[in-house]
């Protein structure tokens, strides 16, 4: 199963979901697939899960998709505890598990051949966890996952591939304001004050 094929299915169903991508495979593959200027492309590994949790709790009526990676999640395994405690119904946490750090050439994630993130999430207390190894199975369940109105933790066991050569062409404050303005427009809320901060 290829990451790009999984993300194509997601991109077709995005609608108004707020998308958070973690640095590495998830961010690179999602941007290469979608050229999505309205997602939050997290440039700090290990922070995306807690960021998405805070966002989901703040916007409980809006779907939040976290496109996480095995390497990013491994950096903050404790974040699964807070996620399990709250399990926001609007949060779907996808973990792209390719067993390696794609953007540095495929160096293996520690213990990659034995770690089962879905089982770890279940043991942490998350009620809806699943793992997919084939695209057909994932495609068959995806609509159920996205329309259930329940928190889900979804591991995608994908092939290790070379990184797509499509860098996200903005970063830093521009990333902040692109995403924040998108949230303001879509949710009709105020993120930045009248002076722009």
């Amino acid at each position: 199963m290829r990451t790009s094929d999984c993300f194509r299915l997601l991109a077709q169903r995005r609608h108004k979901a707020l998308v958070v991508c973690t640095l590495g495979t998830a961010m690179g593959e999602w941007y290469a697939m979608t050229r999505d200027d309205e997602a939050f492309h997290m440039h700090a590994m290990g922070l995306a899960a807690s960021f998405a949790l805070g966002l989901a709790l703040a916007r409980p009526s809006t779907p939040v998709w976290l496109l996480d990676s095995d390497g990013g999640l491994a950096m903050s395994l404790g974040s699964m505890l807070a996620e399990a405690r709250h399990q926001p119904a609007n949060l779907v946490h996808f973990v792209v598990d390719n067993g390696c750090y794609q953007i540095i050439g495929g160096y293996p994630v520690v213990n990659a051949d034995q770690t089962d993130f879905a089982s770890m999430a279940k043991a942490a207390g998350m009620r809806r966890t699943c793992r997919f190894e084939g695209l057909q199975d994932f495609a068959g369940e995806l609509d159920n996952i996205l329309t259930a109105g329940k928190h889900s933790f979804v591991v995608l066991n994908v092939e290790a591939e070379s990184a797509p050569n499509v860098p996200v062409p903005f970063e830093g404050p521009e990333l902040k304001y692109r995403f924040g303005r998108h949230v303001e427009r879509q949710e009709k809320i105020v993120v930045f004050g009248p002076h722009g901060y």
């Binding site: 700090a44 903050s76 807070a82």
Partner: protein, 142 residues
């Protein structure tokens, strides 16, 4: 923490490690919700990676209420390192901080929160042990 839990207008997110609080608060910020991280100086030391690579690099504000421990009048051996390195660490990351040493200065907190948004990076408001344990017997809580 108990009082925060009891307030229906607040959501308390307990985390396993302080850098997670950085992420939760950032997500809340982008969701249009006010947020505050509670931690000690050890938590500030642990969160340096997130402060530098996330908050400072993206100009994302973060308001932190932190206990000021490891000062000269603090006899706890497990607070010594925090006292020795904590403020220098914040200086190195160019993170502003202020200290509330007396209970009558607590009304400064809302202005400090607004300041964190203005400077667009973490801002730490330290609370001394005297403030934290105001009205509670002196040595309770270590």
């Amino acid at each position: 923490m108990v009082r925060v839990d009891q307030d229906p207008e607040m959501i308390q997110v307990r985390v396993a490690r302080e850098p997670e609080a950085v992420g939760v608060c950032a997500g809340a910020f982008f969701g249009g919700v006010s947020a505050c991280a509670f931690m000690g100086i050890a938590g500030l030391l642990a969160s340096g990676h997130e402060f530098a690579l996330f908050n400072n690099a993206h100009q994302v504000p973060l308001f932190i209420l932190a206990s000021l421990r490891g000062t000269l009048e603090d006899p706890r051996t497990y607070q010594v390192a925090q006292g020795m390195h904590g403020l220098a660490y914040l200086d190195a990351l160019e993170i502003q901080y202020m200290t509330i040493e007396e209970i009558d200065r607590l009304p400064l907190i809302p202005a400090a929160y607004q300041r964190s948004k203005l400077v667009k990076r973490p801002l730490v408001c330290f609370l001394t042990k005297r403030v934290l344990f105001h009205g509670i017997e002196e040595n309770r809580g270590g």
